[in-house]
Subunit: 413 residues, 2 copies
């Protein structure tokens, strides 16, 4: 059945999550399909940061480390993220960047499997994950190598008894393909290895159950589907059964058992706190803290259901309206196998995305040829999907993307 | 000569830096002698963060990585810190925490001296520095040990040809004692080792000249004398002569030669950028960025001159007014040998500091028995010093600190 604009508007009228959009600051006319890169600001975040500046820092100064709860923000925010990823309240902390947290858990994993010298990952993993694994292998100087597979189908062959740890991103950043967390983790454990999940494109995008999957470690970022603001600090999860034995080399004072005893020798906390390192950036932390409150009002099942409906509608409309213009679906067609995004390849993906952005339809380009569109059910409407595809159709039909201004590459993010 | 309150007020009238105080948000009646722990907010910082929220994140969203210069903030802010520490504009970046940056430079140093297995530091160094060194030594598994000296006088004996790196904090966090950076660095180099300076209590407190001292690496924090806000990101310096050879294991995408090429293999920038790891926390970065503009208006020589005058006056008044109450100077008496603070020991230091804080005289307590007072010439007045000592005298004279409420220890920072 053909979907026209009125049908899209009708879907919005029936949407039980539609009321959440007003929580976000989104300018008139903007169609924002890039929440998988940087989630937008909520009004409550602005207020929280303002209060942190005026009251906590401005008036109370150093006392706020206690009185405003700054010191325990890493644990408090971790506790808010925990239910989104199937973790216990005290099994997650927020601190540092995703890359730094990945370093900690990978270092921890190889230390727990000293006789195994291989780290397995996917070639299509987010590059920084592979770079960090390289950095670890090189620095550890214990003969570790990185074994890259082209697809998770090769995993069974890749995990012999030489593998210490398998590191995968749950939802691929380009295609949006979702791994079967439970099954993969089982296979990895059966081979005697440990499992690290990168949840950068999962947390807040779809239900995740780390406990049910018996995952060993997980990390993920705060600025995509969690809307914590640009460069928001990242989270780190360690399975409760590992928290007393897992050590990590970034052993700073914040992870000490008694950080204010100022002992000259490190005695790490026997808990997730051991994965804390230095003083965290409070302004960025309070923004993330406030951004997470919206999750008290929504179920991840409703989020997932609307997410699948949005991306499915998008794919259907693109194929109906933009067929014959050289676009190829780069995401799984099966909504169950897809995260909260839809990607298409095109030889001129960069210029087409620039032309969309000029019309205030914001997705992003990922080298070499991917147009990536994220669908965040907290604020994206079905009519946004409809309008975005109409803009895409106009740009392709008119050849507007061929203008020189859309083909100039700067420092792209 | 006796200094009375009028004499202190006269010193303020003659102070050529006095006009800078209005840049800071300081509530009426507050005597803030804890800028060495958390510098106060400037009005321009509030405005900059507000603009980042409303315009950059709120309106321009992902585009701000380019249009607002977010992506290059680590380098831009590093360039502002550079002249405060005697570094070249392109030799400093701001990112991560002090502890994480210390990990990077120590790892880099031991990699550059593969045949030497000892890391030397002072037992009285800030604990996190020692903890990070322990973490490195343990993880590297190359037989590294940490050799702690009780005083820098023992340094010559401690640095044999087995020492890879010496790591010292330029200004001691408890006593405020200052190391002779040039002389120590020369001795360390003569022994074939590398030198890492922690400038946490130096940057913005007194002139530092890393280039003249030929230092190899330096790190330091943004939230003390640089007033960047709670947990502001830290800086890292690498000598230009080392930037092409120094590698570090936290090899995230932000330090890649071409971060947006999304290559699957790490190829680090041949510059200070290699010491960047993951996406930095932008709200915290813009606060620090704005906080640093004040340094365009002042010379470090004037800062140092007022700093010495403030702490010298404080010590003189404490000894005049509070003699016989059990206070002992824990800082060097020679102002040249002292950073921008003055510390006294007392058996009841904790309770006395609580009683001072209750009177809005904010210093801090450092275990086990130190009362620490920081003097930040940008906003501390001579009359603040006078009034602080009068409060201290009243508390000691009256025994007010003995009240139970001042003796209850919570989570102290």
């Amino acid at each position: 059945m053909h979907t026209d604009r009125n049908a899209a508007l009708e879907l919005d009228r029936q949407d039980t999550l539609a009321h959440l959009r007003v929580s976000f600051v989104l300018r008139e006319g903007l169609i924002y399909l890039d929440g998988n890169s940087l989630g937008p600001m909520q009004a409550c975040v602005r207020e929280r940061v303002h209060n942190c500046l005026e009251k906590e820092w401005g008036q109370d100064l150093i006392a706020s480390w206690n009185s405003a709860g700054w010191f325990l923000l890493p644990q408090a925010i971790g506790g808010k993220i925990a239910p989104l990823i199937g973790a216990g309240t005290y099994d997650v902390v927020v601190t540092d960047s995703t890359s730094v947290n990945l370093f900690k858990v990978l270092a921890s994993a190889i230390t727990l499997r000293p006789d195994r010298k291989v780290i397995v990952s996917e070639r299509s993993n987010f590059p920084t994950d592979l770079y960090i694994a390289e950095g670890i292998a090189e620095f550890a100087e214990r003969g570790h190598t990185l074994r890259l597979i082209d697809s998770v189908d090769e995993l069974d062959d890749a995990i012999g008894d030489d593998v210490a740890v398998v590191m995968l991103t749950h939802v691929n950043y380009r295609s949006g393909a979702v791994h079967d967390m439970k099954k993969v983790t089982e296979n990895v454990h059966a081979a005697g290895a440990l499992m690290v999940w990168d949840l950068a494109h999962s947390a807040g995008a779809l239900p995740v159950d780390l406990a049910a999957a018996d995952a060993d470690f997980a990390i993920g970022c705060g600025y995509k589907y969690l809307n914590g603001g640009p460069g928001a600090p990242a989270f780190v999860y360690v399975a409760p059964r590992l928290q007393k034995v897992a050590v990590q080399p970034l052993s700073g004072w914040y992870g000490h058992k008694a950080p204010f005893a100022f002992e000259s020798s490190y005695d790490g906390a026997q808990s997730i706190d051991r994965f804390l390192t230095g003083t965290p950036p409070i302004l960025s932390l309070v923004a993330l803290d406030a951004a997470l409150d919206i999750w008290n009002e929504v179920s991840l099942e409703d989020i997932r259901s609307k997410s699948k409906a949005l991306s499915t509608l998008f794919i259907k409309l693109v194929e109906e309206r933009c067929g014959g213009f050289g676009l190829t679906l780069a995401s799984p067609r099966d909504a169950e196998a897809r995260g909260s995004q839809a990607s298409f390849t095109h030889d001129n993906a960069f210029a087409i995305m620039q032309a969309l952005i000029a019309r205030d339809v914001i997705g992003d380009f990922r080298a070499p040829d991917i147009l990536r569109f994220g669908f965040t059910p907290l604020y994206v409407r079905f009519v946004d999907v409809f309008d975005a595809v109409e803009h895409l159709h106009d740009i392709l039909q008119s050849g507007a993307w061929k203008q020189e201004k859309f083909n100039v590459r700067g420092t792209v993010t």
